[in-house]
């Protein structure tokens, strides 16, 4: 197995003598050539983690390895990592060429080497014709290219980006996504970026690490993570709309039922007698994609349509089932009317249970036909 390009080992950052824990001992291993997204809401510790990797902040404890070597004691300028700021932070009074050349100029590299490297990177990013323009006169996505190019010229081991797409308009976002993908494949960059936007995470990354309150809750391949959230929080964060989550209890033989049942307030769902989950508190997850509307009589759950949100290709229908709101995604052609009484059905295999205490997903398959 090859050495990970970047490795975080029990990395932690505290402020005010432990009063504020920004990063709570996280571990992460990034393979060479991989793109990883650190996804989470504001304050989850992702930017602090980024700052520690770059060297703008010092970890309270733990270690950071690049190509197997610890870099925590190396000053930021010498770590060979590149960082692209959210606002790009180009040098406004310098030309594109001067911006790109900066990293090598301050290292006192030879003029010919600098020119060659700058031309190469400019070519790679499609900025070849703009080398003489002052950075402050550039457009948004051009500035971002310069910011990226500025780091590429120094051939960093790892490229870090802070919210790379958030400052771009929709059209530019699409283009930049493809650009970054292309860079990845053409020069085999290892990329770590930080974002609060799940679309940004899903569209660019090979793997996603979901962070919350200073911890990494789950690291998983992009293609898999939506369907297999490991943690209640991840389930509630990913997806548009995210998984329907119902916190409740499993109790054996509720009133008149044949076997164990899951209750969330007024809502009750019967579970087969051989359900491996014992009595206790759990959170039930129902993915909007795996729910469907059927006639009331055939459905395990029934309710009324309270909201219909048209999204172009599909609709998000919110159904009030016993005063619980469930989101269902349907093809646009099937959209129901407001106030319509409907039944909600699902494939029993698509039920997901999370432990009440651990919040972790439980790997079980209870077959359920409802009451």
């Amino acid at each position: 197995m090859s050495i990970p390009k970047l490795e975080l080992v029990s990395l932690a950052k505290e402020y005010n003598d432990g009063a504020v824990v920004a990063v709570d001992g996280i571990d992460l291993s990034v393979a060479p050539g991989e793109t990883i997204a650190l996804l989470g809401p504001s304050g989850c510790g992702k930017s602090t983690t980024l700052n520690m990797v770059v060297g703008l902040e010092e970890p309270t404890s733990g270690d950071i390895h690049i190509d197997g070597l610890s870099i925590v004691n190396i000053p930021p300028g010498k770590r060979n990592v590149g960082l692209v700021f959210q606002d790009y932070a180009v040098f406004p009074s310098m030309t594109v060429r001067q911006n790109l050349a900066f990293g090598l100029v301050v290292r006192k590299a030879a003029k010919d080497d600098i020119d060659r490297a700058v031309d190469e990177v400019a070519e790679l990013l499609g900025m070849g014709g703009r080398l003489h323009v002052r950075a402050r006169d550039l457009g948004g996505s051009e500035m971002q290219r310069v910011a990226i190019g500025r780091t590429l010229v120094t051939k960093p081991a790892v490229l870090l980006l802070d919210e790379p797409l958030s400052n771009l308009e929709a059209a530019a976002r699409l283009t930049m996504r493809r650009e970054l993908r292309r860079l990845q494949s053409e020069i085999g960059l290892t990329i770590i970026y930080v974002t609060h936007d799940q679309i940004e995470a899903l569209s660019l990354a090979d793997r996603i690490a979901v962070m919350h309150a200073g911890k990494i809750l789950q690291v998983e391949k992009t293609s898999v993570i939506c369907e297999r959230p490991d943690h209640v929080y991840v389930a509630g964060f990913l997806g548009s709309p995210p998984m329907n989550l119902l916190a409740g209890e499993i109790a054996p033989g509720a009133s008149g039922a044949a076997g164990p049942a899951f209750t969330h307030g007024p809502l009750t769902l019967a579970l087969p007698a051989d359900c491996p989950l014992g009595k206790g508190s759990y959170t039930l997850g129902l993915r909007p994609e795996s729910l469907r509307l059927v006639p009331e009589s055939e459905a395990p759950l029934a309710g009324t349509v309270s909201l219909v949100e048209f999204r172009g290709g599909d609709v998000v229908v919110t159904v009030d089932v016993a005063s619980v709101k469930l989101d269902v995604i349907l093809p646009a052609t099937e959209r129901p009317a407001m106030g319509q009484s409907v039944g909600v059905d699902f494939d029993p295999d698509s039920l997901v249970f999370f432990g009440g205490d651990s919040s972790r997903r439980l790997d079980v398959r209870p077959m359920g036909r409802p009451l």
Binding site: V54, G77, K78, L83, F91, A147
Partner: protein
């Protein structure tokens, strides 16, 4: 004056975050009020500034002196005053040269000290706000008082000489006001003490508004602190620096109060600035017309100088001024 036609570029930015009180105005609506509001100011300016200026201008083309009766009876001599000043009046030319040299030296020193102080203030240390107020004190003091204080300090038996004796030995007994180079030095020291805080203030506020991310980016790219300062921070400071220089230059060429209190222009005319020379012309020698001509020459020269200084950053400066 024609009211401007509203075009799409006049449409104000209505986003809450953008304060735009000074942008393209709603001229059509409140035109009369605008005039009414600025009228008192314009009246005062015209009465108390423009008219005397025009009188002075007229005067500069005559050979008038108060002893010769009314101004309007005075003989019109065209550019005679001006040509005499520029060609024959060595005292005037020396005064101009002297003022420019003293100004240049003072500005350079004020900038250097001000910048150094500002850079020091970018560090964190205790008592910073108290120290900040302390360092601003010199520029709050009246120019005549500053002149007076340093007049005392530079006396032969004064503390400056005492300190110099302590450092350099008892043979150093400088007569600051008896020797031309020393007198000039005393003037420069006084000026620099008085106005370095202004450069400090302006440069510090400039440094504080340098955006942080480009600085961080430079550090991550491997620049050492000196490279960061000169390649990233200073270019951002350029417009601020120029504003500071222009503002200060405008005032220092009029140098009068401090020099008056220190040396009256002496010894001889060793520290005679332009303002002092014109003052003497007008109020010692009563050559008022001649003095007026000198003043207008100075005005033209200063305008030209400022224009030259501002050329490289005209566009940026308009942004800053807004």
């Amino acid at each position: 004056m024609n009211p401007p036609v509203a075009t799409s570029s006049d449409a104000p930015d209505l986003s809450p975050a953008a304060p735009h009180g000074g942008g393209k105005p709603a001229r059509a609506k409140g035109g009369n009020i605008g005039l009414a509001l600025t009228l008192p100011g314009q009246i005062v300016s015209v009465l108390v500034l423009v008219i005397p200026l025009l009188v002075a201008l007229y005067m500069s083309f005559t050979d008038w002196s108060p002893t010769r009766g009314s101004l309007f009876d005075a003989e019109f001599v065209g550019f005679e005053n001006y040509s005499e000043l520029l060609i024959w009046d060595t005292r005037f030319l020396y005064a101009v040269l002297r003022t420019l040299c003293i100004s240049a030296v003072c500005l350079a020193l004020e900038f250097t000290f001000g910048l150094s102080l500002a850079v020091l203030f970018m560090r964190s240390f205790r008592g910073k706000s108290l120290l900040f107020s302390a360092f601003l004190t010199p520029m709050m003091i009246l120019p005549v008082v500053v002149g007076y204080i340093f007049w005392m300090l530079f006396q032969s038996s004064g503390p400056v000489n005492q300190i110099l004796e302590f450092v350099l030995g008892p043979d150093v007994a400088l007569e600051w006001f008896r020797s031309a180079p020393l007198a000039v030095t005393a003037v420069i020291i006084t000026e620099v003490w008085h106005w370095t805080p202004l450069f400090f203030l302006i440069l510090l506020s400039g440094l504080n508004s340098v955006p942080e991310n480009p600085v961080r980016a430079a550090v991550i790219l491997g620049a050492n602190p000196r490279q960061v300062f000169w390649r990233v921070i200073m270019p951002t400071l350029k417009p601020v620096i120029i504003v500071a220089f222009v503002i200060r230059a405008m005032e220092i060429i009029k140098l009068f109060d401090e020099v008056f209190m220190l040396t009256r222009g002496g010894p001889g005319s060793a520290t005679e600035t332009i303002s002092l020379y014109i003052y003497k012309l007008a109020f010692n020698d009563f050559q008022l017309a001649y003095g007026a001509a000198a003043a207008f020459l100075v005005l033209l020269g200063a305008l030209g100088l400022i224009h030259l200084l501002l050329m490289p950053v005209r566009n940026q400066l308009l942004e800053v001024k807004r």
